[in-house]
């Protein structure tokens, strides 16, 4: 029975090894093809919050683009379980031990990742934080080299102002929050509430419910609070999965048209819903640009060039009217 076990294990590892044998070679070629080689080869580990959201796919495109433009090798690796803080900490620790040139990190928690990032700094491995904030000094001399992100509060406010306008400046609005402890969506939610509370005739009827990490959980949450949703004239959701879950719930309850939805981020089904008029507007970040700028700023830092401590990557309000304009098309493609 032992030989059976060893045989199985051996075959697993051989398959795993074979699957990746090609990888290092391929990325080696890519770095050779790049712009004139830097003084020494740079390998960057880029750690997103997850790998399955469309948003992160776009970030990956930007990251890889920057990698080949700047002639650096990119390792793209997110936690196996989406949004798992402990696993993201382990990944940072592993890349620090491996001795990569630098790390680009979208922290899942503003505090839990502080220690690992400091430990990377102690090993002289610079870190650029992107997408979501991390506590501590991000001024180049501090714990991390730069912070590259959408100004989420302003983006949330933009969505809020549009929602207020589209329901005629009066009535009930509802906020379905995303996930506890996630800094970027917290900011968007605050920005939305800023805009909603600035209007005396707008009443926020719910702002303490969390959608959870996946669309089906968001949908279930929205259906659980459907009585409040029915009372609302407008609903705001702060990310892709919560927007999609809310959309599914509105469809199921046939509330489309009665309740106006402003969401955040884009994906093919969300854009289709926007075209069909089921969604009023989507606040869309520029994830490709974010990925690109994050890698670029870290490479600059490694090459001793000055880097802005905070880089805003911008957000755009996409509506049925401007979805086919050149500016929006470029971001959405």
């Amino acid at each position: 029975m032992k030989s059976a076990m060893l045989g199985v294990l051996a075959s697993i590892v051989v398959v795993a090894a074979a699957a990746c044998e090609k990888k290092p070679a391929a990325s080696g070629d890519a770095s050779k093809k790049g712009v004139p080689p830097a003084t020494k080869p740079i390998t960057l580990a880029v750690i997103p919050k997850g790998t399955t959201h469309v948003f992160w796919k776009s970030v990956e495109t930007g990251v890889k683009q920057a990698g080949s433009d700047l002639g650096v090798t990119i390792i793209w690796k997110g936690p196996l379980v989406e949004n798992d803080r402990a696993q993201q900490i382990q990944l940072v620790e592993q890349f620090v031990t491996e001795g990569v040139s630098g790390i680009v990190l979208a922290p899942l928690d503003k505090q839990a990742l502080v220690g690992p990032v400091k430990a990377a700094g102690a090993k002289k491995i610079p870190v650029v934080i992107f997408d979501s904030a991390l506590e501590g000094a991000g001024d180049g001399a501090g714990d991390f080299a730069a912070f590259v992100a959408t100004n989420n509060r302003a983006a949330g406010r933009m969505g809020g102002e549009y929602l207020v306008k589209s329901i005629g400046g009066r009535g009930n609005v509802l906020l379905l929050r995303y996930l506890v402890g996630s800094a970027s969506t917290d900011e968007r939610e605050s920005g939305f509430l800023d805009a909603a509370r600035a209007q005396s005739e707008i009443k926020v009827i719910s702002d303490n419910q969390y959608a959870g990490p996946t669309p089906d959980e968001a949908k279930a949450k929205a259906l659980n609070m459907i009585d409040q949703v029915k009372e609302a004239h407008g609903v705001f959701c702060p990310n892709e999965s919560s927007t999609f879950g809310m959309l599914l719930a509105l469809r199921q309850e046939q509330l489309i048209g009665r309740v106006k939805l402003v969401g955040f981020d884009s994906s093919p089904p969300l854009l289709a819903a926007l075209r069909a008029g089921e969604i009023e507007a989507l606040v869309v970040q520029n994830p490709r640009r974010m990925g690109y700028l994050a890698v670029e700023s870290l490479v600059k830092h490694l090459r001793g060039e000055p880097v802005e401590p905070t880089i805003d990557t911008g957000a755009v309000l996409v509506t049925k009217e401007n979805i086919d304009s050149e500016e929006v098309k470029k971001i959405l493609e």
Binding site: C20, K23, V81, R85, E93
Partner: protein, 379 residues
């Protein structure tokens, strides 16, 4: 003679499996995998699952199962963070986390043995503790001893907890026992809900990590300059559980119950008492794993350790335990946990995509369970 050879082979199985995986990754990755600093990291990153797997081994040897171990770990981090937020020193908060998990273990044990009085006692004690929480239970336990009337209530609850549960043990009312699979499947969700409830759906950010973060870090000098304290804790827990299993009557009765519960009962072993004690110790280990998880996170995270129940059970089975009870090794379970860390670490070093890594890990888990089946048929 043949028996002891079979036993040796069983112990050797996980050692060889781990060695195989290690050598394969060493060949495929090279020094980045074999460096001492990477070995140290792998040991450190195994500690949480390793410690939880030791407790789970005891439960599985007894013929039980704990599907709620991930939730217990999350609950542990939340209790620790909540205690720290109300001013407890780190070590006492850690103790609180372990006790909270052990209380969950008592609850599981009581449900599994159908001891309804004990179930009610645990629930009452928890409700009392929660309702008097804001009235100074903290300062009693932190030895503040500033006795206001309300603080007294806290003290009474603490004593009540110590008295209530054993007293309830004497009440001979029993309902039909519920299978541990069902009990812990229920608690898998319920304990996670409780963890979320403690923080009102939020993670808890204590003012500092209270020195617990040092558990996951190597220091400048002393034994923790070799590997972080968490690894020593794991090894100590393995040694203690191993000694418990092999050298105490209690340990032997665990194996006896797992081998044949009816025979154990006929022989006069106190099956119910052993059961709830093993669940208390086993889930207490999950609480200790929660301490280590907190040391790594430095926050209380109600969503952490999702899916660890499967990692832990896989580690126990890879380590040579039989899911039908009566057989298993805590040392093997630690090796099983180490094997899974090695797979994770090696796959990362090879820069595999997540989906490839997940398939590889899944195949290893299925292989381990399949091997368990083959082993049962042949041995």
């Amino acid at each position: 003679m043949t028996h002891s050879i079979a036993k040796l082979l069983r112990l050797l199985g996980p050692v060889l499996a781990l060695a195989m995986v290690w050598v394969c990754f060493a060949l495929a990755v090279g020094p980045a995998f074999t460096s001492w600093s990477n070995q140290r990291l792998m040991l450190q990153q195994t500690a949480v699952v390793g410690v939880a797997a030791v407790g789970a081994t005891l439960i599985i040897i007894m013929g039980g199962i704990d599907l709620s171990v991930g939730a217990s770990i999350a609950l542990g981090t939340m209790v620790i963070a909540a205690l720290m937020q109300s001013g407890f020193p780190g070590w006492l908060a850690a103790l609180g986390g372990v006790i909270a998990a052990a209380a969950c273990g008592v609850l599981i044990g009581a449900l599994v043995t159908g001891h309804v009085a004990r179930v009610i006692a645990v629930v009452i004690a928890v409700v009392l503790a929660v309702t008097t929480w804001n009235r100074g239970i903290g300062s009693i336990v932190t030895l503040g001893w500033s006795v206001h009337g309300t603080h007294l209530i806290g003290g009474i609850v603490c004593c009540g907890w110590a008295v209530l549960v054993p007293l309830a043990g004497r009440v001979p009312v029993r309902i039909k026992p519920v299978s541990p699979f069902i009990v812990t499947l229920g608690l898998w969700g319920a304990l996670r809900g409780l963890a979320k409830g403690i923080g009102a759906n939020q993670p808890i950010y204590p003012p500092s990590a209270g020195g617990l973060d040092r558990l996951m870090r190597t220091s400048e000098s002393g034994i923790s300059s070799i590997v972080p304290p968490a690894v020593w804790i794991m090894l100590a827990v393995v040694a203690a559980a191993s000694a418990l299993l092999h050298f105490t009557p209690f340990g032997r009765s665990i194996v006896a119950i797992g081998s044949n519960e009816h025979a154990a009962r006929v022989c006069g072993l106190r099956v119910e008492r052993t059961k709830w004690r093993v669940y208390m110790i086993g889930v207490g280990c999950a609480g200790l794993a929660g301490v280590l998880q907190f040391a790594s996170l430095t926050i209380g995270d109600p969503t952490t350790a999702a899916g660890y129940e499967l990692k832990v059970i896989a580690a126990v089975v890879i380590g040579g335990a039989s899911l039908s009870g009566g057989r298993g090794s805590v040392f093997g379970a630690m090796l099983g946990a180490l094997l899974m860390t090695a797979v994770d670490n090696g796959c990362n070093k090879l820069h595999l995509d997540n989906w490839v890594q997940e398939i590889a890990t899944g195949v290893i888990i299925v292989a381990a369970v399949a091997i368990d089946q083959v082993r049962q048929r042949t041995g």
